[in-house]
């Protein structure tokens, strides 16, 4: 198969890569750009651990071809923090104990971040729906839902919320 030179816009940086037309965005991120934040857990579009954003929408990078991502603004977990400064959502995940083994965390954060960009004040049902495509085997989701809710609306009604 012919290789192609493509340009991807990842976390507001332009990256040139040579890819096969059948290469997934996930493989290109992980193998060619050493961005290992996105994880492969199922490789078939079920688990959401490979979730990144394209133009603000969560996508499964294991089912997205790298060539399809040309022209889109791609955002990965590496783009959430501003230097050393974590995003509110990342901090909220830490403060609420939403991270256990952490393997699902990057994908979970990208889905949650996309939700919060679209809906600034989602209720529990909306959060659970937005995260329904991200499997977490460790947490039972309760603390993840709580972390997203508090990132949306910080308050002192929760002992784990520092904001």
């Amino acid at each position: 198969m012919e290789k192609m030179e493509i340009t991807l816009n990842i976390n507001d940086k332009s990256r040139e890569v040579t890819v096969h037309p059948n290469e997934t965005l996930l493989d290109v991120l992980r193998e060619k750009l050493d961005m290992i934040g996105a994880k492969e857990s199922c490789g078939e579009g079920v688990c959401g651990s490979c979730t990144v954003q394209m133009d603000g929408k969560p996508v499964r990078s294991c089912l997205t071809l790298a060539v399809e991502a040309r022209g889109a603004k791609i955002k990965t977990v590496e783009g959430l923090a501003d230097g050393e400064e974590l995003s509110d959502l990342q901090q909220s995940f830490i403060d609420h104990g939403a991270v256990q083994c952490g393997f699902c965390t990057p994908g979970m954060l990208m889905s949650a971040d996309a939700l919060l960009n679209e809906n600034h004040n989602p209720d529990e049902k909306a959060i659970r729906k937005a995260l329904a495509g991200n499997i977490c085997r460790c947490t039972g989701y309760a603390k993840i839902v709580q972390a997203v809710a508090h990132a949306a609306e910080p308050g002192d009604h929760c002992s784990d919320c520092k904001s």
């Binding site: 199922c42 329904a132 977490c136 085997r137 309760a142």
Partner: protein, 759 residues
């Protein structure tokens, strides 16, 4: 208890930052210079003799760097116990399940490695295969392992005496059989291993593990090299749940390929391989016969259990015992006889999983509910009449010291409104209770203890070394929390070096729920010893006796006169200037009965502490579809002492998801001729965010006399009691005691229909 700085506090985990930024590296994320891709050729047959393996075409493929078969090994067989060594890492004579290892390939890229697998020609002679434990026991065709007559891998026999006499005396006796198929871990991280040999011919290896020292020993045996030449490195791990305790043949194959090629090699499992070729939970048929007195107290029980062990022994003796032990710990039961048979079949290998025996545990509780119904006792009262009490000995002679089983039952019942709801809920609406107990540790021989080293650096910060591994449950944070508390430092001053066999001392690993109790305790003792050294130096400077000193917030101060203080950093530097480094060691070895053995002598002190848990579940069943809607769950556990409630709640919530919501409603494997039909997440349904009910977590503290700060196992007795609570609630909702798990809509609808037909 309340004057701790960090212990008992809701402390966010120190490992979270690397995980939320995507920086944490798991095995599959590792890249070493010149690294090759490894793949494993697996058996397509459930049982077959290997006639010939021809690797010539694969070897000739450009880009292939090495191919290994059983011929290239030292022929060492693996088994957790001397009497269970039945598994070669690469098969030479026979394959025993679809997925068994027959060859390994290392190539420059994945595509080449996969093509090479196809070019390896293996000639097989198919043998008759068995897939059902009862058929395997009765089968007169070729044994799966020659030395195991009737394909019985393990037989655990326990008899406390007077069982028949007590049945004869019983007011009411009933016998029921419960069944459940296999379940799987579905760790988020598929198994992966990376290996290389360094300039000193030492093997360096990275892989998910439940204890690095449990990997280094079998690898040193397999390569016939000294233990110090195997360096199992620390790496972030994406879940274990009991499934990563043992050596995996892929570890050996990857290392062998690295040795052959002189390059680093990495093998990453597909999701299917993770399901089929690591471990699964045992399928099980459990028959419980229980006799009670007129008040519902169990005076005799006899259980016979057949477990489908799959192709090899794995942790067989332990796995055959633990379902029984958990229930004998949870409930008093007069006299008892247990016969557990783990039987070889031509299916994937079964190991330890978070819920030890759904059919066993849910069977005991379902039957208690049946008996209670017969006697007109409510389920909460039934449990209180049979629950384990502090100071008791279990049937197999373990003393139970701390035990707040009753408190977990009462608090969960109170919070869930059980008494008000029981018998008063509308049709197809039910509530149920499950109780369980999990051991904090097993007798592990020379690997039963943990040791920690602490050294102070000249900047006043400390490096803590411990063999404890973190699979995701928060063990690293636990160690940091304990060290910081004892040394009077802040968590960020503690630098943890853990789970690396080159540096850290032997440790029992994270399975058997013992990391806090033993590994945490070892760090606590080391930190206390280190603090003593600091206090000796500080006492001269502060002109106060060491006993009068305390350490907090990087300061050492006089307890009665806190103004008199000195920074720890200054104490360390003073000590160094006086030619004394500040470091210390500490260890902890639980006093268990070393003569206790799973098969030969299953009596004596099993471990020093037991946890106790109760889960109450309220459900609604749709009689048209058989779908279960879980309205609320309440989980109460006696954890000894809550070191970090934030982490504990996470364990409870995760336990409800895996043990109850998934384990009792949707999770099971389907088979056809030894082939698993649902090895991936498409076919195997784990709970999603939108499925989960609310979880009320109740932490009960009994302050264990031996545990660090009184802590013991946390979380697993919730996973197990959740399974029991879910099954009880569904049974209550439909008015039928179900005996086949998980409780899928087809079974529920069939039970509703049969009941309607009867009435």
């Amino acid at each position: 208890m309340s004057d701790y700085t960090l212990i008992g506090k809701r402390m966010p985990r120190v490992d979270s930052r690397a995980k939320v930024t995507g920086k944490a590296r798991y095995t599959a994320d590792l890249k070493l210079p010149g690294m090759l891709v490894g793949k494993i050729k697996r058996s397509p047959y459930p049982h077959a003799r290997i006639v010939n393996i021809d690797t010539s075409r694969a070897e000739a493929l450009p880009g292939v760097k090495a191919i290994v078969t059983g011929e290239d090994t030292e022929g060492v067989k693996w088994g957790v116990f001397a009497y269970t060594r039945d598994q070669q890492f690469i098969q030479t004579e026979k394959v025993r399940y679809i997925g068994d290892e027959v060859a390994g390939v290392a190539a420059v890229d994945e595509e080449t490695a996969i093509r090479a697998l196809d070019l390896i020609k293996v000639e097989y002679e198919e043998l008759p295969a068995v897939f059902d434990p009862l058929e395997a026991m009765a089968s007169d065709t070729e044994l799966i392992h020659e030395d195991f007559p009737n394909n019985v891998n393990i037989h655990v026999h326990i008899d406390t005496g007077e069982v028949d006499e007590n049945f004869a005396k019983a007011h009411y006796v009933r016998e029921d059989t419960f069944v459940a198929p296999e379940e799987s871990y579905f760790h988020a991280e598929p198994y992966a291993v990376a290996a290389r040999f360094d300039h000193d011919d030492c093997l360096e290896i990275w892989c998910p593990n439940g204890g690095p020292h449990m990997k280094s020993k079998p690898l040193s045996n397999a390569f016939k090299i000294p233990l110090h030449k195997v360096k199992v490195r620390k790496i972030t791990i994406g879940g274990a749940f009991g499934g990563r305790s043992e050596i995996c043949p892929a570890d050996y194959i990857c290392a062998l390929l690295a040795k052959r090629t002189g390059s680093p090699v990495k093998i990453v499992f597909t999701r299917e391989e993770n399901t089929i070729c690591t471990r699964q939970g045992h399928a099980m048929i459990a028959t419980h016969k229980t006799g009670v007195d007129k008040d519902g107290r169990v005076i005799a029980r006899e259980t016979t259990c057949y477990m489908d062990g799959g192709a090899y022994s794995s942790t067989g003796p332990i796995a055959t015992s633990v379902p029984f032990l958990s229930m004998e710990q949870a409930y008093r039961m007069g006299s008892v006889r247990y016969n557990g048979y783990r039987v070889y079949t031509n299916k994937p290998i079964r190991g330890m999983i978070r819920v030890h025996g759904r059919a066993f545990a849910c069977g005991v509780d379902t039957q208690l509910d049946m008996i209670a119904e017969h006697l007109g006792i409510d389920p909460v009262e039934m449990r209180l009449r049979n629950s384990r009490q502090p100071g008791d000995y279990t049937s197999t002679k373990s003393l139970v010291t701390s035990c707040a089983m009753d408190e977990t039952i009462l608090k969960a019942a109170d919070k869930s409104g059980f008494k008000e709801k029981w018998g008063k809920l509308p049709p197809f609406h039910g509530i149920g209770i499950g109780t369980n107990s999990v051991q904090t540790g097993f007798p592990m021989g020379i690997r039963g203890g943990s040791q920690s080293f602490i050294k102070f650096n000249e900047d006043g910060e400390a490096t803590v070394m411990s063999g404890v591994v973190d699979n995701g449950q928060g063990n690293e944070n636990m160690l940091v929390q304990i060290a910081a508390e004892e040394l009077g430092l802040l968590p960020e001053d503690i630098h943890l070096v853990n789970a690396d066999t080159e540096i850290t001392s032997s440790d029992p690993g994270s399975y058997s729920q013992v990391s806090t109790f033993i590994g945490g305790q070892a760090v606590k003792v080391a930190a206390e010893n280190c603090r003593k050294k600091l206090f000796e130096v500080a006492s001269k400077i502060l002109k106060a006796a060491p006993e009068e000193l305390a350490a907090k917030n990087r300061l050492i101060f006089v307890k009665n006169d806190p103004e008199k203080s000195i920074p720890i950093k200054k104490v360390v530097r003073t000590s160094l200037l006086n030619f004394n480094s500040v470091n210390a060691e500490g260890g902890y070895w639980p006093k268990v009965d070393m003569k206790r053995e799973w098969v030969k002598n299953p009596y004596g002190q099993l471990c020093e502490a037991f946890s106790f848990g109760t889960t109450i579940v309220e459900v609604k069943v749709d009689p048209e579809t058989g779908q279960v809607e879980v309205l609320e769950t309440t989980a109460a556990q006696d954890v000894g002492y809550a070191l970090n409630p934030l982490v504990l709640e996470g364990q409870f919530e995760g336990s409800i998801a895996m043990g109850g919501q998934g384990g009792m409603l949707t999770e099971y494997h389907e088979w056809e001729g030894g082939r698993c039909l649902n090895p991936t997440m498409l076919g195997y349904k784990v709970p999603l965010c939108c499925d989960m009910p609310p979880v009320n977590s109740i932490i009960v503290e009994s302050v264990d006399p031996k545990g660090p700060y009184g802590a013991k196992e946390a979380g697993m007795s919730i996973a197990m009691s959740a399974a029991q609570g879910y099954s009880a609630a569904v049974s209550n909702a439909i008015g039928v005691h179900l005996d086949s798990f998980p409780l899928t809509p087809d079974k529920i609808l069939a039970a509703i229909r049969e009941k309607a037909a009867r009435e």
